[in-house]
């Protein structure tokens, strides 16, 4: 199911939370939706879910406007835990699944499958408040996918999980994608985004500042990372032409440079000054891009 946002704007009084946001997410894709805190992510999610009406623009699923009739095909995992603490896992999931249009019997069957898959079948009759934070997150994920939604919104799905469980959930997300689910994925963990999303967008002050495929974004970012480990003093490189950022490490220096040719120039200048143990030119990480693009507002 393809999700389309056309010039969506949301204003709260004078404050503009989302400003002319246009996105097109094709069916069966994981789309990374990033942004610093307060960039308008949650507001956008709430509009996609139909909780808030956009001030302008429209949001459609396969051409159909989102409203409560589309809710059975949407799954939502909110950033913070959204479960009844005093309710048993079984009652809770069945209740939420029925609200998404599922039959009780089907919900129980799916629940068994997922608990088994997440290796926690014993939680069926446990209250949510008795579970650890990471296990609550598994239940939360389960609540979002039990009705096999066509569009899944995951807001920080891996928070509070240990690496083993992160892999478990990541696998589940990728399987859902294979099955044709369109997934909007939001996270502050850039390595997860890099690993899972083909396309992404970075929001800042309600506007997308970066938008496109991961590869294009990295390429068009222009800047590259240069790591040099050497025996002699490299501090003079901090002032070098074409170096935008630098960070000293015990073994050498990390530089951000504006292009490959700068790396060539640097290499020529340092050859002969001493022993060079390492000289690596790297693609920028998404983390760098994020800090550069979304961090601008903090400076």
């Amino acid at each position: 199911m393809a999700l389309q946002l056309e010039k969506v704007t949301k204003k709260f009084g004078k404050f503009t939370a989302v400003d002319h946001l246009s996105l097109a997410i094709p069916e069966g894709e994981i789309f990374g939706f990033l942004g610093a805190n307060g960039a308008g992510k949650t507001t956008t999610f709430r509009m996609i879910l139909g909780l808030l009406d956009p001030t302008e623009g429209r949001i459609t699923l396969d051409g159909k406007r989102v409203d409560y009739s589309t809710s059975p095909i949407i799954g939502y995992l909110p950033e913070e835990r959204g479960l009844y603490p005093k309710l048993k896992v079984k009652d809770q999931i069945v209740y939420l699944a029925r609200l998404r249009g599922m039959k009780k019997q089907d919900a129980l069957k799916e629940l068994d499958y997922w608990l088994e898959r997440f290796k926690v079948p014993e939680y069926l009759d446990k209250k949510v408040e008795e579970l650890s934070k990471g296990n609550q997150q598994k239940i939360q994920f389960l609540a979002a996918v039990i009705h096999r939604p066509k569009l899944l919104i995951l807001d920080e799905p891996f928070s509070g999980l240990d690496p083993v469980n992160v892999e478990l959930l990541k696998k589940a997300v990728l399987d859902l994608k294979e099955a044709g689910t369109t997934i909007v994925f939001s996270s502050h963990r850039m390595e997860h985004v890099e690993e899972m999303c083909e396309h992404l967008c970075i929001m800042q002050n309600g506007k997308p500042v970066v938008h496109g495929s991961l590869k294009d974004i990295k390429r068009s970012f222009g800047k590259k990372n240069l790591v040099i480990h050497a025996d002699f003093d490299l501090r003079f490189l901090q002032e070098y032409r074409g170096v935008t950022k630098s960070k000293q490490t015990p073994e050498g220096i990390h530089l951000q440079i504006t292009g490959e040719e700068i790396a060539g120039n640097i290499l020529q200048d340092i050859v002969g000054k001493g022993f060079i143990r390492k000289f690596v030119l790297e693609e920028p990480s998404l983390n760098d891009i994020f800090i550069e693009k979304a961090g601008a507002s903090y400076e």
Partner: protein, 416 residues
């Protein structure tokens, strides 16, 4: 099944199964049974206890007999025992606790009875009063026979004045009926008062719990907030009706069972003998309407807080309204026709209690009842529409929000 009913029954069933609900219901039912059985319980203890003994020293020699007969007619709570010992000896026995007191009977120079009663304390006034009344009667008989009055003359003397009270209003309740109505109205008012406070705050807490646990975001992404709010209100409403039904049935059965054996006294006072059906019907009607009014108010107030701890603070103004209504109703019990009662019975927030009080105790023209119900229903509708809008935005607001300014903010959120 429709989402509305899924939420409704989920709310109803999950609340029904909670320990706190079961405990309050059972406890109140036990209290009800105890209350309705009070005469039986009192009787049980009295039968078991020692009968109080009063020693009588009759110096006249002719007063004990009629006094004992007189006392037997009225009460059997104490026994009179004729003693011939000296007053000192009997006084000692009183101190030892063998007798409650000692009564000395003498004849005055006019050949009329006089008495002197000594006991350990002045506290036991029941015995004294009864002895006094009995002696008074004996004195009257003796005095009239001294005057040589005939039986007819005597009868004439004591015949009560024919005094008839008639209310000009048709079907007006007699004093006796009014007393009966008062008891029933009092009990039902109490139920309305408690139920409204309890269930309204239950709703507010429930909403705040869903909000603070963020399950609300998931819920309202499946169901519209307004639908969810009303499903919740009706679900809890059903719960309250269930509880009310349990109380009414338990109370009814318990009273009916006791009624045959316990004529008079307690039950007559509360007017349970012949419960007017209309009063119960109005009671239930105003109960439901009052519930909806306050539940809607509570739901939208609850939607404004983000933490459960803030709920009580938020709904305090609402609780005070209920308390005020109840206070006015309590005053109104003794003067249901007072002007301020009439006026307040049309103020929607007080109507459920005060109009019910008037309906239960007076004969109110139907148009007044209809008008007050119409105002009440109108207010509920307005509150529901307004509350629904606040609720829609309120459930999405987080952070420090405990003030009424947030209503404006919540309304703004729901705008396009």
């Amino acid at each position: 099944m429709n989402n509305f009913f899924i939420i409704l029954f989920h709310t109803y069933l999950s609340k029904l199964k909670t320990k706190s609900f079961l405990v309050t219901t059972i406890l109140t039912a036990v209290i009800l049974i105890t209350l309705t059985n009070i005469p039986r319980i009192i009787e049980f203890f009295e039968r078991d206890g020692d009968v109080e003994k009063v020693a009588v020293i009759d110096t006249s020699g002719q007063l004990f007999q009629p006094l004992e007969e007189q006392v037997k007619i009225t009460d059997q709570d104490f026994e009179l025992i004729l003693v011939s010992e000296s007053i000192k000896a009997v006084e000692n026995k009183v101190e030892e606790g063998e007798y409650t007191g000692v009564l000395q009977l003498t004849m005055t120079s006019e050949q009329l009875p006089a008495a002197n009663y000594k006991s350990m304390s002045m506290a036991d006034s029941v015995v004294v009063t009864e002895l006094q009344t009995a002696l008074q009667q004996i004195k009257t008989v003796m005095a009239s026979s001294q005057l040589n009055l005939t039986q007819e003359q005597l009868a004439q003397l004591y015949e009560p004045v024919p005094f008839e009270r008639l209310a000009l209003e048709e079907d007006a309740k007699t004093e006796e009926e009014l007393n009966q109505a008062r008891g029933l109205v009092y009990v039902l008012l109490f139920i309305i008062y408690f139920a409204v406070i309890m269930y309204a705050s239950m709703i507010a807490t429930e909403v705040a719990t869903e909000k603070s646990s963020r399950v609300m975001e998931i819920l309202i992404s499946s169901v519209s907030p307004v639908k969810q709010m009303f499903a919740k209100i009706i679900g809890v409403g059903l719960l309250s009706l269930t509880q009310l039904a349990v109380f009414l049935i338990v109370g009814y059965i318990s009273v009916k069972q006791n009624l045959d054996s316990m004529e008079g006294g307690f039950f007559d006072f509360f007017g349970f003998g012949n419960v007017p059906v209309a009063t119960i019907v109005y009671g239930v009607t105003f109960f439901i309407l009052g519930y909806f009014l306050y539940a809607t108010l509570a739901a939208f107030l609850g939607s404004l807080v983000s933490r459960i701890e803030d709920v009580q603070q938020m709904i305090t103004p609402m609780t005070l309204l209920v308390v005020a209504g109840f206070m006015i109703a309590m005053v109104g019990l003794s003067q249901p026709e007072a002007g301020f009662i009439t006026v307040t019975s049309f103020i929607p927030f007080f109507t459920p209690m005060i109009m019910f009080l008037r309906v239960g105790m007076l004969n109110i023209p139907l148009w007044e009842i209809s008008l007050s119900i119409a105002i009440l229903v109108g207010t509920i509708t307005i509150l529901a529409i307004f509350g629904g809008r606040v609720y829609r935005g309120g459930v999405l607001m987080y952070g420090k929000s405990n003030s009424f300014k947030d209503i404006k903010k919540a309304l703004q959120l729901t705008k396009k």
